[in-house]
Amino acid sequence: MFEDLRDLYQEVIFDHNRNPRNFRIIENADRKVDGFNPLCGDRLTLYLKMDGDRIADASFQGSGCAISTASVSLMTEIIKDKTEAEAEALFKTFHEMTTGKSEDIQLEAVGKLAVLAGVREYPARVKCATLAWHTLDAALKNQHEAVSTE
């Protein structure tokens, strides 16, 4: 019945929505930033444990739609053990992939995150996918104010 939506709602997304990874609090987190999407009311809190400039652990709390939950869940997996610079680079690539600005985006470069490329066709949903990453960006820049997608 929802054939048209297969590019957007891939099985991986349903899986992460049902069983979000790293859905927990890091008690002694070095960075903790709130992200908020005022349009839909999605809220999340991102926790990072740093080891020098390496992300030793990442986790989140909060509630959102399937796209935003899957996005943050996938993100916490993929950024673990990355350096800050590597994570920032991923953010940039992810942003380009989801906003469709770059035609020849290397989907291999983003690994599993490629399942979120489908949002490109749904402008109303892009912010759902990017909220997690904007929040990460703020955390990496060591900003403490809540991030808003507006």
Partner: protein
């Protein structure tokens, strides 16, 4: 119901035959904005092709024609809500501007530090924020009357908020997030007993029921044209003449003055005092056409038809496992707000859109209502006179299928 001319009405709305993602459009986002009948589209088209010029400014034929049509529309609005005089009908951009106008003119002139303004827990942001701004400017205090789990105003608690410090009551006639219809007559009578004026936010009520401002005896009634099958960018502030006369102007400029010198200007009389600058001319005339169209069908007939739609939709929705209705007031207009277990309203919205069904997911500009129910957002199907039971069936089938997909 047998006499309601639903087929004819549907045929009058060109957009209803639009295909969305290859499917028949099922438009259930009417609380956000309604679609327009041919009569309105054609009327505005005609204005621009044959009648358009600026109003109140020229002796030439087109200016006279356009002025006549503009003022004729004002009288249509007057009759539609049974106001006593066209002087009481002020054209503004919409509900939001009307409330801001009252806050910044009536409010600033009459409300001081320590005074109180009473609203309810189910207001749209546009009936909260202008009062908060006024409170910040004046030192007045905003009081919020609570509601119960069904989404009904707790009337006794409302009444206990009224006292000699209360300078204004501003209440939504019908809630956009819940569908609740407030006991406005009772509210107005109670407030008037203490000489407190009442503003009704009629943005949602006006397309769904007959409204008679004299019978209600409200002091201000505000609504938007775009939710009344008319154009966007135009709305109405009704105010009792004596109140409007006493209020300072809102914006200064052309059309709202009698004489201007560099020392002092004098203001035009009602309603022009509040209509500075060139207004939305074709939109006003288009709103008049929407009102003609609605009068032909009859607001009482529309209300009865929509009540049947709502009953049917509510009954069907209650049979879906995992669906919870948000807002189950006894007195309710044609809005079905709901949440699904573990499925976010935005996912519901995107999934239904792929079936051609337009609903809204979000906080509906009523964040405090969401907070009250402890949800970030709800999905909302809101009905209009052109919707059908078959469309409700399509909606319910869509909801059942997406619940399966999410598993």
């Amino acid at each position: 119901m047998t006499t309601f001319p639903i087929d004819k009405i549907r045929a009058d709305f060109p957009i209803l035959s639009e295909k969305i993602r290859g499917k028949d459009l099922v438009y259930l986002d009417n609380a956000a904005s309604c679609q327009k009948p041919e009569a309105v589209i054609e009327c505005m088209n005609h204005v621009y092709r044959h009648d358009y010029a600026n109003i109140h400014r020229g002796v030439h034929t087109l200016s006279v024609r356009s002025t006549d049509k503009y003022e004729a529309a004002r009288d249509k609005v007057r009759a539609f809500i049974n106001a006593a005089s066209v002087k009481e009908i002020i054209f503004v951009r919409g509900t939001t501007e009307a409330i801001n106008l009252v806050a910044q003119t009536y409010g600033k002139a009459n409300i001081k530090a320590g005074d109180e303004i009473v609203i309810t827990a189910m207001e749209h942001h546009s009936n909260i924020v202008p009062w908060q701004m006024l409170c910040e400017q004046t030192g007045a205090v905003l009081k919020v009357a609570p509601m119960n789990q069904q989404g009904e105003l707790i009337y006794d608690a409302f009444e206990t908020l009224l006292n000699n410090k209360t300078k204004l009551v501003a209440v939504v006639h019908m809630s956009n997030a819940l569908g609740t219809i407030n006991p406005v007559k009772k509210i107005i009578d109670a407030a008037h007993a203490l000489n407190i004026p009442v503003l009704l936010d009629g943005a949602q009520a006006i397309p769904h029921m007959p409204v008679d401002v004299q019978e209600l005896n409200c002091d201000f009634y505000v609504f938007s044209g775009h939710k009344l099958y008319g154009p966007s960018g135009i709305g109405v502030l009704y105010g009792k003449q004596a109140l409007l006369e006493a209020m300072p102007p809102y914006q200064g400029g052309g059309d709202m003055i009698r004489t201007v010198t560099f020392e002092k200007s004098t203001y035009a009389g009602l309603p022009h005092k509040f209509e500075a600058g060139t207004p939305a001319i074709a939109e006003v005339i288009g709103l008049g056409a929407a009102i003609d169209y609605l009068n032909d069908i009859g607001m009482t007939n529309i209300a009865a038809y929509e009540a049947e739609l709502l009953d049917y939709a509510t009954e069907q929705a209650k049979q879906i496992d995992g669906l919870k209705l948000i807002g189950e007031a006894q007195e309710k207009g044609a809005i079905l707000s709901f949440i699904l277990n573990k499925i976010h309203p935005h996912d519901i919205g995107t999934m239904l859109d792929s079936l051609g069904i337009a609903i809204r997911g979000g906080h509906h500009c009523a964040m405090p209502v969401m907070e009250f129910y402890g949800v970030p957002a709800t999905a909302r199907a809101s009905f209009a006179m052109y919707n059908t039971k078959q469309e409700i069936d399509v909606l319910m089938e869509g909801i059942k299928s997406l619940i399966k997909v999410f598993g």
